[in-house]
């Protein structure tokens, strides 16, 4: 067990926590505006594939990250079109969106690399640049909601779209922007996963990390700093799981396989009641309907 609590595990934990942290930040912006984004997992996965293909083609992980950001933003745009403009059910659309993203990324991946053919490993970024990137994003989201009018406007739209509308703010536009920003950060998170700790793409590479991010947002009470702390905790469990899989221990390694999800479940239970849910979360806004 002494190898478990080593610097290497902590480092791996940070590395694996970063993608989740970025996706959680995206979900915070998204949900503060009142749009519940259950497509987050799908957006992360799309960003991961985009980041991987572009990194493979250009040889630059930084361009790969940019690609993940852009792919994520465009999936966010599609999602906004459906739930904000067409006012489809946010829950159903989100689940459907993730199903489509899983199928589409698998399809594109299979088109590019035949089964059995080994997809190339791409150049990976080290930990510190990615930590710096994530910290910049955390600071930006914190600043947005604590210090800017735009952040207050987004929150107002999520709490009471009618009042925001009456004050002259464009609810639809703000929700569009928030959803695109959320998708962009989720896509960036996926690209970080592929261009950082993993260095390769496999089918469903995100393995539920987008859903974990959504749970963390509840746990964090829609605040960026606790969300990142939660993501680090998830990363640590993930790293411990990977480390212990090969070694023979008293406890079956499947326990560690399940651990990140058990911890997420516990986090969801512990904080759910005390959360500060945006009042209009999940409600489509129809002008003049209320």
């Amino acid at each position: 067990m002494d190898t478990l609590f080593s610097i290497a595990t902590v480092e791996a934990g940070i590395r694996l926590g970063l993608p989740v942290a970025l996706a959680a930040l995206g979900a915070i912006i998204n949900e503060r505006s009142g749009v519940l984004n259950l497509g987050l997992e799908g957006m992360m996965l799309s960003g991961a594939l985009g980041g991987y293909i572009v990194n493979d083609a250009t040889g630059s992980p930084w361009i790969g990250l940019l690609a993940g950001l852009l792919v994520g933003a465009s999936t966010g745009g599609v999602f906004a079109g459906l739930v904000v403009t067409f006012r489809t059910s946010q829950v159903v659309t989100g689940i459907a969106f993730t199903i489509v993203a899983i199928a589409a990324t698998t399809y594109l991946f299979q088109l590019r690399w035949d089964i059995g053919e080994l997809p190339p490993r791409v150049e990976r970024l080290g930990m510190w640049p990615l930590v710096a990137l994530t910290l910049v994003c955390v600071a930006a989201v914190w600043f947005l909601f604590r210090r800017t009018t735009l952040g207050l406007t987004i929150s107002a739209v999520g709490e009471s779209p009618e009042s925001a509308d009456a004050l002259g703010y464009n609810v639809v536009l703000i929700r569009w922007m928030a959803t695109i920003a959320g998708g962009a950060l989720a896509g960036l998170g996926g690209a970080v996963l592929v261009n950082g700790p993993l260095g390769l793409f496999i089918e469903e590479v995100t393995a539920g990390r987008g859903w974990v991010a959504l749970a963390l947002v509840v746990f964090a009470g829609w605040r960026p700093v606790p969300a990142v702390a939660g993501a680090f905790l998830f990363g640590l469990c993930d790293a411990a799981q990977l480390r212990l899989q090969g070694t023979a221990t008293e406890v079956p390694y499947e326990v560690f396989l399940a651990l990140p999800y058990v911890v997420t479940l516990i986090a969801l239970v512990v904080r759910a009641r005390r959360s500060h849910t945006p009042a209009a979360l999940g409600d489509p806004y129809v002008r003049g309907a209320a």
Binding site: T106, G208, A258, Y261, V262
Partner: protein
């Protein structure tokens, strides 16, 4: 108890809470669980059919981009289902778990209880059922007893897995979408452990359970279709009856439309949430054991083939209606089976089928929104 609990026909006569409707909803559920009006039937049939055709067109474009003639692919799919001798039988076999899980989802979604945990419930059901029928000392029991014990254990395990999400939601307010998903991942870990260690066949080199042939389901209609398909066929009218004629089904729809009416009648919406999750979980657990004893010889690591995820699509395309779920399940199974032979023939990516079905569901969601706008405009 209260008036809602006294015995009265839940349907046919207009129930009193209905006057407090029309419910404030987004168009989607409105279109789905509306009582049968001509317009309702039209939109609930038209939207999925048009969506399916549109998805096939998109799929055709993708096939064409791949340099293959889409029409010959679709022809091969139809031939695979309708002219090959085993096409029907395989289709029914694949449809069985989809329909069993899909009906459970449909009941839950009618109550706006958005569980996506069918895969985990399916797996824990398969593990529990297999553990019971391969336990020491049950080998001498008659096959019927073994089958009933196995299926019963699977249903209980699935129901507990689903019910756990209900308890977490009712007591702690945990989001059901996320908790059922986490429980699916945990259920998969449980399967991995069970076949590697817990209920592993000590004489087998591979990680799998002892053979479950003693509890194998009888098959009919040729070699492949098993008793489980009959379960699915029987479940559909039962679920239909529950929705249209039983108080429980009425409460489910009340919870989906306007939880306030339940509370106003002093009937706890938490109980409906829990019961619907237990039932959906039990059905998914049943599906897991039915698949294990109907199709496979042992339970292995590869038991997770994603029926629990595909059934979400089946429930939504089937408009949360049991008959719709059956049709959608058969359609999806047919596409899968037909595509299997077409895929080999034309060397297409195996994930194309999931992509096409995924497009159906996006088009259904979109089509509903368009239909709702249309109605508003008039």
């Amino acid at each position: 108890m209260t008036s809602s609990d006294t015995r009265q026909p839940a349907s046919g006569t207009t129930p009193s809470p209905k006057s407090t409707w029309p419910p404030k909803l987004d168009g989607w559920l409105d279109a789905v669980s509306r009582r049968a009006t001509a317009e309702g039937i039209l939109s609930s049939i038209l939207v999925p059919v048009v969506s399916a055709l549109a998805a096939l067109v998109v799929g055709g474009v993708l096939i064409a981009i791949d340099g293959v003639n889409p029409l010959s692919v679709y022809q091969a799919i139809l031939q695979g289902v309708f002219t090959k001798s085993r096409g029907f039988s395989y289709t029914a076999t694949v449809a069985t778990p989809l329909v069993l899980i899909g009906v459970g989802y449909a009941l839950a979604y009618r109550a706006r209880v958005f569980t996506i945990g069918g895969e985990g419930q399916y797996l824990v059901g398969a593990v529990a059922g297999t553990a019971v029928v391969t336990a020491g000392g049950v080998g001498d029991l008659p096959r019927v007893v073994l089958i009933v014990m196995g299926l019963g254990a699977a249903m209980v395990a699935g129901a507990l897995w689903g019910g756990l999400a209900g308890v977490l939601a009712n007591r702690f307010g945990a989001s059901i979408v996320i908790s059922t998903l986490m429980l699916s991942f945990i259920g998969d870990s449980l399967l991995q452990w069970a076949v590697r260690d817990g209920i592993r066949d000590p004489e087998s080199y591979n990680a799998n359970s002892r053979p479950i042939t003693a509890a194998a389901l009888p098959s009919f209609f040729g070699q492949k279709t098993h008793l489980g398909f009959l379960f699915a066929l029987v479940l559909v009218p039962i679920a239909w009856w529950l929705i249209r004629r039983h108080r429980w089904g009425f409460r489910i729809d009340a919870l989906g439309h306007n939880p306030g009416t339940l509370d106003a009648n002093e009937f706890s919406s938490a109980r409906v949430t829990l019961s619907v999750l237990v039932v959906a979980g039990g059905l998914a657990g049943l599906a897991g054991m039915v698949e294990t004893t109907g199709v496979n010889i042992r339970l292995g690591q590869e038991a997770s083939v994603g029926y629990g995820w595909d059934a979400i699509i089946v429930a939504l395309i089937g408009r949360l209606h049991p008959l719709g779920v059956l049709i959608a399940g058969l359609g999806m199974a047919g596409l899968t089976i037909g595509f299997e032979s077409a895929q080999r023939q034309f060397e297409l990516p195996s994930s194309l089928v999931s992509l096409i079905t995924a497009f159906v569901i996006i088009f259904v969601v979109w089509g509903d929104a368009i239909a709702a706008r249309w109605k508003e405009a008039r």
